[in-house]
Amino acid sequence: MTTVPLTRRARPLVAARRGMLSGPGWLPWVLLLPALLFALMFKFIPMVEGLRMSLFKVQPFLGDQWVGLENYRTVLTDSRFRSALGHTLLLGIGQTVGALVLGFLLALLLEGQTRSLWVLRTAIFLPVVTAVAVIGEVWRILYFPTETGFVNSIAGWFGLGPFGFLNDPDQALVSVMVVGVWTAAPYNMVIILAGLAGIDRTLYEAAAVDGVSRWQRIRYIVLPGLRPAISVLLTLAAIRSLRIFTEVFVLTGGGPAGSTEVWMTRVFSLGFQRNDLGVASAASTLLLLVTVVLTLGMRLLTRQKESGS
């Protein structure tokens, strides 16, 4: 796209060209009404209600009691929330990096135009479209912790195991992580493949003339070319991993011995099983704050990059 500076007189003309037609003034609001109502009812009112509850000791039938920031203090000093935070970060970093590296390797392996490669890519993309709960239930079975379990019998071919996987407090978190990487890698592969397709082929030829090795080609042409795609992937995955719930809840429920408890499974057990709504709301509010800050930060960063380039 060319960026010819616009004169003052030309600007309104361009704005009109964008396809903004004016009709009756009330029309947009009628069209937006359903969306705004749903947003109010199921997003903004819950958000405000969550903020309110986080400041109260919520007691059904007895009336709520103002406690100020007490709930937040409880969350921040609670050892189970602290270890949940640690697990959330470990899981988030491990899954994000793992899925990115595996997705990159898959893209390098499966790049190409032949029909067989296309079929292969279609097949390995299946985990992405499968409901997380289904994946969780199946991996629970695959991870069966005796030597006749599916993954263990494969490990047995290589003289490894048997592993306890989800039953072993030392292995459970890594086992959950592997499932997350397995699910997300094909998604990353598709995006990285699109990035690879955008790299100028003549660069490869020119590099070959200069006697550049394959490794150097990856290092100096491919990776820089993929940077925009990778940075978007990284930030989105980081934000999403903060609220990881279904995988963990289905695979381990936070166990064994709390070794896979993440922020949201802790919120769930507090809010829905122990009915401690005030503390659960405070924990959710903290999660919301971090999510908003990270998302806005990302938007700001990408916008700066766009205007800078």
Binding site: A16, R17, G19, M20, L21, S22, P24, L27, P28, L32, P34, A35, F38, M41, F42, K43, F44, P46, M47, E49, G50, M53, L108, L109, L110, E111, G112, L120, T122, I124, F125, P127, V129, T130, A131, V132, A133, V134, E137, V138, I141, L142, T148, F150, W182, A194, G195, Y204, E205, R217, I221, A229, R243, V267, F268, G271, L277, S284, L288, T302
Partner: protein
């Protein structure tokens, strides 16, 4: 078509048979196994005559429909129906709400445009997980109306009606429809709602495809929301109900896998029918940033 060469791929895979090609085929086989095997075990386990967790296989041995029969006795078709009603109703509502909003945002000028856009962006930062606790309170007693949605399919259908992502991609797409088409229609006396229905919507078919598949996946994947919107386990969607089958001591994993297979089939159908839209949507989203 041009000859394929080592410059077609980043790694420079050679099309000719040699060590490189053999290595690539071997690696592809490993990758296919790693990603396909779990799905084969779902299929095999669902049809196996006896399945315990230590006997997962890649193909059914001594195939039988017993697993499905027992799953049926455990109410699997009721859960499936819940899921279908929720995904059908939720998707229809989500598409309707989004088309109306996107039409206003993309084709009409009005004061407050930026604010509305920001509000929808903000909803994307408020996924179910982040507001789960207060949302369950809201579902138990709707503000202003005082109705409870708990135990009804509307407890899931209404909250998924608004998805900022769908509104944003539709708005982006509808902006690109040439103004001249709309002007010509206006000269012909086409009214506002007919303009949306007869002119803009047919031209928006590609984005409707993308929105349908992403919306389906988003709703079918819901777990926390059906869980908190349910009054008792009979209200669960199929994906949530799998945990009921799992913890039922009287049935084996074969029955669970039969349920998993039933939960998998709709995603599979949608994926195979619309994979081009899906891939296009994913890559467009990523490269645009």
């Amino acid at each position: 078509m041009s000859m394929s060469s080592q410059f077609d791929t980043a790694l420079g895979w050679s099309p000719r048979l040699g060590v490189g090609k053999v290595l690539r085929i071997l690696l592809c086989a490993v990758v296919l196994f790693v990603f396909a095997a779990p799905f084969l075990t779902i299929f095999a386990g669902a049809f196996n005559k006896t399945t315990d967790s230590t006997q997962v296989t890649l193909y059914p041995q001594d195939p039988t429909l017993l697993g499905f029969q027992i799953a049926g006795e455990k109410g699997i078709w009721g859960y499936f129906l819940n899921s279908l009603v929720i995904v059908g109703g939720g998707l229809l509502l989500q598409l309707t709400v989004s088309v109306l909003a996107a039409y206003a945002l993309a084709r009409r000028k009005f004061r407050g445009h930026t604010v509305v856009m920001l509000l929808f962006l903000l909803t994307m930062m408020l996924p179910e997980e982040v507001i789960a606790v207060p949302l369950s309170q809201v579902l138990a007693e709707l503000p202003f109306l005082g109705i409870s949605l708990k135990g009804s399919v509307f407890g899931v259908i209404l909250p998924v009606a608004l998805w900022g992502f769908t509104i944003l991609i539709m708005t982006e797409f509808m902006k690109e429809i040439p103004r001249e088409i709309e002007e010509a229609a206006r000269l012909d006396g086409v009214g506002e709602l007919r303009m949306l229905w007869v002119i803009v919507l047919p031209l928006s078919k590609p984005v409707l495809g993308v929105a349908t598949i992403f919306g389906f996946m988003m709703i079918w994947d819901q777990y926390l929301l059906p869980l908190i919107a349910a009054d008792d386990p009979s209200d669960y969607t199929l994906t949530v109900a799998l945990s009921v089958l799992r913890s039922d001591g009287t049935v084996g994993p074969g029955v669970l896998l039969a349920g998993a297979l039933i939960a998998l089939v709709p995603s599979l159908v949608v994926y195979l029918l619309m994979q081009r839209s899906l891939i296009r949507g994913i890559t467009a989203g990523a490269t645009k940033g």
